[in-house]
Symmetry: C2
Subunit: 120 residues, 2 copies
Amino acid sequence: MLINELSKRTGVAIPTLRYYENFGLFKGVSDETVTTNNYKDYDESIVEKIEMIKGAKEGGFTLSEIKKLLDSWYDKNLSNEKKTQVVLNKISEIDCKIQELKKVKKLLTECIVTIEKGGC
Amino acid sequence: MLINELSKRTGVAIPTLRYYENFGLFKGVSDETVTTNNYKDYDESIVEKIEMIKGAKEGGFTLSEIKKLLDSWYDKNLSNEKKTQVVLNKISEIDCKIQELKKVKKLLTECIVTIEKGGC
DNA sequence: TCAAAGTATACACTATACTATATACTTGTA
DNA sequence: TACAAGTATATAGTATAGTGTATACTTTGA
């Protein structure tokens, strides 16, 4: 699909997609048989990748952190053990963030009790 | 406590604390009886507030979002019902972020299976 | 007492993640 | 075939969240 469709499918604005591509998060391919333009084609796997990027960003990961993960994922020179390790590390970072969020949630829940008591 | 101790207690750098205070996330008080300086004093509640800020930031909330929450929390003119509503909204945002992070985690877990199968 | 360390304020600078603008070329449609 | 809409690239500008530097004043300890 072309960038316009990719944007519609993911809900990410075209300039942002170009920024991401430029940042190295994914890469569209120009059809070599077409010589009149260099329009890039993005496949289904890129839609999935962007969904992952959106989720990770929502959870507070930076583009650099996301890139590092994707880079090792696609690194042919990395052993499966090392790839697994990188992914496991990211999973434990996610668990950490979830714990932090739960802590904040707990604080806010306590807040509500305080409000209802008329405190504050 | 003075800013130096606050920094040590929270692990947040002094310039960052000043930035937060300036942003309006909390406010130290100058002792009116001391005329020689305007050193600010920060109490325990501010330590807690900063822990909350750290957690919220880690989970991807912006300082503006955090400020909005704190502002309504300390708004004397807001009814308890409205305060509760603001806090409940924030809690559901947190749940949303947790769901997003779990989705990413699921994706990464699937990644590991794929790696182990020798795929990619 | 005086020098080092701490505090406050102001302003400049940086990094991240976009967003906008300009330009040039291509494609699809009336 | 003309022209609107789509695509690519480059560059500049913006917002957020700090970090660094300079200056001035205050406190504390040898």
